[in-house]
Symmetry: C3
Subunit: 676 residues, 3 copies
């Protein structure tokens, strides 16, 4: 399902305003071309001030005004932050974690399995759905918000976990064996003896509980969806704002939610993408975040939250807000919605700034949105519902992420870093990638990157084998195919069940001390490159050795191997090195194996992203993510210009860009070309 | 109220001695010129070994001996560390914090509002007061010790907090609105639902609780004072040792105590000043600590604790103990008292060394005190009760400090750092400053520095406006006048209600990446200086731009502005830069606005401090805080020398220092000059 | 007691295997020359799956197979990790610490004094002893595993502690005085008031509790030994794997166990030695760990655990596993046993790898063991039961270690660092050292090193005095003889009771800022060397000053002194400097005092270690701990070669190495010479 129009919008909370100004705000939005607001998700204590006493007057006021000003509304269900009276009455709702019981005040710190909590969630959700149903402006619903299971280990939750294990392992001895519980006398000889999961030192068991908590989230969202769906019109949709692993901005796959599974109850995927800005804006988070969001329903997606001003350190340079918006569209987003319309004057997120600053006056940021909204309005026939299908894909896997969490390769090398290493290298060399999962169909892709697939069932490994055997080119990262689904390490040569296709195997690995990478540059000259964090000591059988170790004691081992397998191939990366060398190796695979992917001459900070418009024309975005101007030299297709930096050209124009033509891209600006 | 004599002394605990030697210690003190001891504050378990069973024999022994050796005694009430039996009986007295309930053993970790605790405090205080009353040697009383509210969030304390909110906000909706509690569903719709404060994510509420805990301290000290006062002679005084924010030494305004308010129940202000020493001794902590102490009663103050040897890393170079003592006097102190007479042989503070080392023998440190005590005895008619009044002041504000705690500018830029940036720059350029508060009379000062007045009521802002409008020169730091008293950010152009006087406004701010400060040096040449941590993007209206940003994207904004307002002026510092540039800007204000402050040519490590003696003569101290000798070139007044390095000159001498005369100052030494 | 044969072995757990392969594993061991396995210690939950229901089938299987394959077996009692059902029934068994009650899952986190725990320990131990008694292959028993008291402060444990204090201090006032409890009102006026030890701020009390917990371990091991002994044959032994202080490998004296006391109930000392490897392998941990183990029973010892592959970062270079094995023997070990035979596929220690990798196939590491096992089999008549007696010793003291823990010199200078500074300097200059304790006979040694003997009773100090007075050469480190056994600092000149023999005293100390060490090099020229972390300001009386401070303010103090006392001498090190200078000073003592120790010309990475074989011939090992080859130039005795790098020479050969002969040592390789 897709939205009908390009959504430009923001979260809007009249409840948070220092004084009433709904109509004024909506006028300002309207003038700027903002056409959508997202409301309601975190104001349960306003809707239901006392148990079973409701007051939706603010909701009605906002919805009425939205209809007056012709704004679309996405309503969020309010369950991620609960009223204080609920916890006074039912303190058990608060999650119990390793650190004891949570204290009321924050959000997303409840035991989602608590039956009382569920009962109250259902009632407020039903009441809200009743209240809103007469409003045409409501186009869709967001379930909860960035849902979390809060590491809850309340006794009821743990009981459900044990039940799930019992189901999976009718024979308790098999359970003990699969999880290796003999270790340190951890055997559970009867289910009644199951110890408090918070104390476990068993990585497999700990990972299984994390997986269980992800399933709790999937179940909770499905529960909310089933309620919401009872009240929906056919033209309305259900979405959710999935977020990503977080450092001080989005950095990779979210470890706490099984997003593809959780998205099954939804109509359109949604996401929150936050990134650095000003000097540090690269477009990378928008790219990988967009690829993940696109993968959830294999369709366009909504950017439900992204920063306008955002955190203090993110304040964008002039032009960047606009550039960011186009970057989202180039990834397949059908919306750009900000967290949030206005900066907040109290509480905790006062310095997570919105479009308007605290003075609530139109500002530079506001006018920049107005500028691009006007442009997009002219261009949207070509830009909305961009259909993207890359020739290369990256395989992501939640169990492997958890696996490396429980059994770290090295405290400074996480799963997401390995994913980002592969993703970012591709991004910077202008090789667009899709995200796939072990359930996906790999055969659509010429090239498949597999970062640290630490946990891989035999079925998954068979799929990878089949991919190669039917002509696919696999770039398999170190630490892949190492353990099974429960993180039990395979007691056989590594990478498990892949040594024949890889043409090499290993059983020893270590950190690189006094060790460099020896590999050949494009001209075939061997040179040394830095290594860090991880090396596997590969013993090649019939693979070509593409890189070795510069250390007298490891000199007989291979570092990177490559083996042709029929028309397919496997390149195995046995160590972690720099992006420059990874880029060189990717090019080598493409060239030597004649992979049907054209290498681009442009390189970051010039980034090219493509897709097909709704009327099936190729659309090419060319971005300049830098503070200096760049040149784009057109070389192949005859395309026409839709946007030349700040100049919008007529959609029905015919001014073709000929091969060899050179176009200038201003700092933090872009071009959009279209097939004629 | 002032003490009658210059007090040179130390904390003295016979209870802590490895063997009985009171008389020997007092003989040693007497010989060295030490005339005062501070006793009793932490030995409740000795006075009252069992509930309601008392033993004051050690007290009487010490007081009798003190009378024999003619020592003054300051008695501390003993409530900051309680006997173990009290907590065995009443465990509820221990504070409950975010980390659970405190375990007995330390100090200052009680719930000060606990009625049982209060009852026992009253009884031991009354008994102690009774016991001591026959001793003439007792000159005053110290209430408790560095009192803390221990972050207590016991339910009784929280209940009192809610009561105080109810009083202030009869309308609960107004309360919710002022604190922005709609955010994340935190509304409190009836006072009974008030959640455990320990969980709050609301910065305003958290700050209000911190303020409440400061009020608890004020109330507790007043409670003790009222008891003590019942027993006092008219010639005795009440004081308290206020301390400062702490890193590994005193670093700024104490965040946990409202010192001016707490001091209201006292007669003389007292303080603890700790500072680095040897290579790192600068006199700065003595200066700002003294200025704060002086501000509490607008009078001379007592240094009740300072380090003699102190922590291991502080061991002073020969001469520094003496230099430190004079530094205190030059700030207006009427005492120099050490923590403590002897180094402790057990427990926790064995390496917080006193005057005597663990061997309890006269040592280098002891003889250095003896040396300066002898000098001061000759000079004290001129040095005691120094009357100081600076031409410049710095406005400190506890709510703003808390505000930046709750809403950090940047994790590496605290309120105290901004205060210290202004203070230290003035100190090093020999521009003496007083400390004032929002209740103070600003009009006494030519120049008023305002560091990060993040929380400012409209009344306070009006006061600042009035100061400028009546001819004051205001140097207003970034992030000032941003939020109200409850930290609710003003929804208007910043700095709030000051944009007309500043002649500029802003709504955007960020951290300086790839950005330098562009400003003019003394000769008018523009140059670049480093920036760090914080920039505001100022949009000037009618201000002069004194500094800009060297970044192509921020180039149109101002960094520092200046605007004449009648005979007054406002200089607005929109960013954080180095002391060198701040000094240049301060000079520029003084020169361009012809502020009646004479700029000194001497610069740190030569520091000049002045005041008026009791008989109304100007006294000038000239310090050399360095390991090399310095020269002081006299240029204005005809003064005479009282102390020339280690030579004391007769008070009634007439040897005038003529303008142009040059005096040498030895390393870590000083001169004292006096008006004739 | 000594083992009868050289043990080469590994921990072996069929319980942890992903599939049954006992016979296959034992065949592989047999082929490699591995002759011993260590079993059973951590599998209580397998032996006793439900309360009082036992299943020893796996034990019998392993023991039967061991007999078939002629392997020795050491059986561990299983009490360091308990079954989950035990904690479900008796949750009180879990230790309560400062952080609350432990949660079941790990190991060594019980209250060892809990009577129920003891009862169950006794039952399982008796059952296990019954089951194993028919097997001849069992050569000995290991009690528990790396036993810990878990910082338990359960109320029962605390009660026992208070009882022990009551016993020691019948007069509670004496107790208060010795511990200095008047401080901060901490007096305990009746034993019933004794507060929860977890809250104490009294370093002496905290140290006494740590000592008490070490005694709990001693008692627990003795309890287990008394049970085991009831079932033992006379040829069997009791041992225990003592471990060392730990950083990311063994780093010094274990603070949590009184090893000499705990070893009293045992027949043979055992230990776990872990060390860095590849680039960072030095042999140092093997040396000091071996010296400590040797000191426990003054006899040969067992290395019960050492890493084969070990942690990822430790993966040894080819040849290092063999070199490590010989290094253990050269220290007096009679075994080399690995943790563990196979790498583990689940749980927590999957990346603490054993001999076999996860693939369970013979690998490089396996074949390297096979290689050296074959060599040792030929040489063991000369190598087993090496009798070592060094001319120099280092005095270690647990109370002093705890003392510096409670009263840190400097957060970056621990007791073990000071010990290691002395040890490692001696090691690198090829001066072999033994470890002694305050109970030892010092008179056997020419040279005695005393690192930071912070806690020293008068009796101990008298022993040191007697050592010097009877001709011993004492190198006394800073911070020695400072406090008594309860860490009460002596109220007299420092070092206490030693100032006459030292010829100097001090009462001031600090950290060295802007201060270097001034000392004379071998040629008598004064030069500056770096100082760090600690300086004492020594006032010499009649000592020679061997080093001073380069700082104008500390220039009159001494840094290192030396004083002849009859035929003995005391060298006092008043500060911490680099190993290079320490080595120079040690040489100076030996040369000037004509100490009967021959200084070697070889230096690290060439290391020489000696001892006497069983048939009383001198055995000399010469190791090359580096990646390059080294030369060894023979200079004194006529010895013959037993091992020349990888060549084994006949034991009855007569090829003498003449003085002046030069032998090459390959990288990470060794020579072994023997008296003819």
């Amino acid at each position: 399902m897709k939205v009908k129009d390009l959504l430009i919008g923001a979260a809007y909370y009249t409840e948070y305003m220092p004084y009433e100004r709904v109509e004024k705000d909506m006028q300002l939005m309207k003038e700027a071309g903002i056409n959508t607001i997202r409301i309601a998700e975190s104001t349960w204590s306003t809707w239901e001030p006392h148990d079973n006493i409701f007051d939706f007057s603010k909701l009605h006021h906002v919805l009425s005004m939205a209809e007056k000003y012709d704004l679309n509304v996405i309503i969020g269900t309010p369950t991620y932050a609960v009223p204080s009276w609920l916890i006074k009455k039912y303190p058990d709702i608060m999650a119990i974690t390793k650190h004891g019981q949570e204290i009321y005040g924050g959000r997303q710190h409840f035991d989602l399995t608590n039956p009382t909590f569920r009962k109250y969630c259902e009632r407020i959700t039903r009441r809200l759905m009743e209240e809103q149903k007469k409003y045409k402006c409501v186009i869709g619903f967001q379930l909860d918000n960035e849902t979390r299971a809060a590491n809850a280990a309340n006794s009821g939750t743990q009981q459900l976990f044990v039940e799930s294990l019992k189901q999976k392992y009718p024979d308790i001895d098999e359970f003990n064996h699969e999880f290796g519980l003999d270790y340190w006398s951890n055997r559970v000889n009867s289910w009644e003896d199951f110890p408090d999961i918070r104390g476990t030192i068993n990585g497999s068991l700990s990972a299984a509980y994390k997986k269980f908590l992800r399933d709790v989230i999937t179940g909770f969202l499905a529960f909310l969806a089933s309620i919401v769906r009872e009240y929906m019109r056919p033209d309305q949709f259900i979405t959710h704002n999935f977020d990503y692993a977080w450092d001080d901005h989005s950095v990779g796959l979210q470890p706490l939610v099984d997003q593809p599974e959780a998205a099954e109850c939804m109509d359109i995927a949604g996401c929150d993408i936050y990134h650095e800005s000003n000097e540090d804006f690269t477009g990378i988070e928008i790219d990988f975040g967009g690829s993940i969001a696109r993968s959830l329903k294999n369709d366009n997606y909504l950017v439900l939250e992204t920063a306008c001003q955002g955190l203090t350190q993110w304040l964008p340079y002039p032009g960047q807000i606009r550039l960011q918006a186009y970057s989202h569209l180039a990834s397949g987003a059908d919306s750009v919605m900000y967290w949030h319309w206005h900066s907040i004057h109290n509480a905790i997120e006062s310095y997570w700034k919105g479009i308007l600053s605290h003075d609530l006056k139109p500002n530079r940021e506001y006018y920049e949105i107005k500028e691009y909204a006007g442009e997009m309005n002219k261009l949207k026939k070509s830009l909305l519902h961009l259909n993207k299908k890359s020739k290369a894909a990256i395989l992501l896997d939640q169990r492997s992420l958890t696996g490396l969490d429980e059994f770290p390769i090295n405290t400074v090398l996480t799963y997401n870093q390995i994913f980002r290493w592969m993703h970012d290298t591709c991004y910077k060399m202008n090789l667009e990638t899709d995200i796939v999962y072990k359930e996906s169909n790999f055969s659509d892709y010429k090239l498949l990157f597999v970062p640290a697939l630490y946990s891989a069932s035999k079925e998954t490994i068979e799929k990878l084998r089949a991919y190669v055997q039917s002509g696919g080119h696999l770039i398999l990262g170190f630490k892949s195919c190492f353990s099974d689904e429960e993180l039990k390490i395979y007691p056989d040569s590594q990478p498990f069940m892949m040594t024949d296709l890889v043409g090499a195997s290993y059983s020893d690995f270590t950190y690189p001390k006094n060790t460099a990478l020896l590999l050949k540059d494009i001209s075939g000259n061997e040179y040394k490159a830095p290594l860090s964090k991880w090396i596997e000591l590969l013993i090649p059988s019939d693979a070509e050795v593409w890189a070795r170790y510069d250390n007298p004691f490891w000199k007989d081992y291979a570092a990177v191997t490559h083996k042709k397998n029929g028309t397919g191939s496997v390149t195995y990366l046995g160590c972690y090195f720099e992006e420059k060398e990874l880029e060189m190796l990717i090019k080598k695979v493409i060239q030597e194996e004649k992979v049907n992917i054209s290498l681009r001459k442009e390189h970051f900070p010039v980034i090219i992203k493509e897709g097909m418009s709704e009327n099936n024309k190729k659309i090419r975005y060319i971005f300049n993510y830098s503070s200096h101007s760049e040149e784009y030299c057109h070389d192949t297709d005859n395309l026409k210009v839709l946007l030349n930096n700040n100049e919008v050209l007529p959609l029905d124009g015919n001014e073709v860009v000929r091969p060899g033509a050179t176009l200038k891209i201003e700092p933090w600006n872009l071009l959009i070309l279209s097939e004629i």
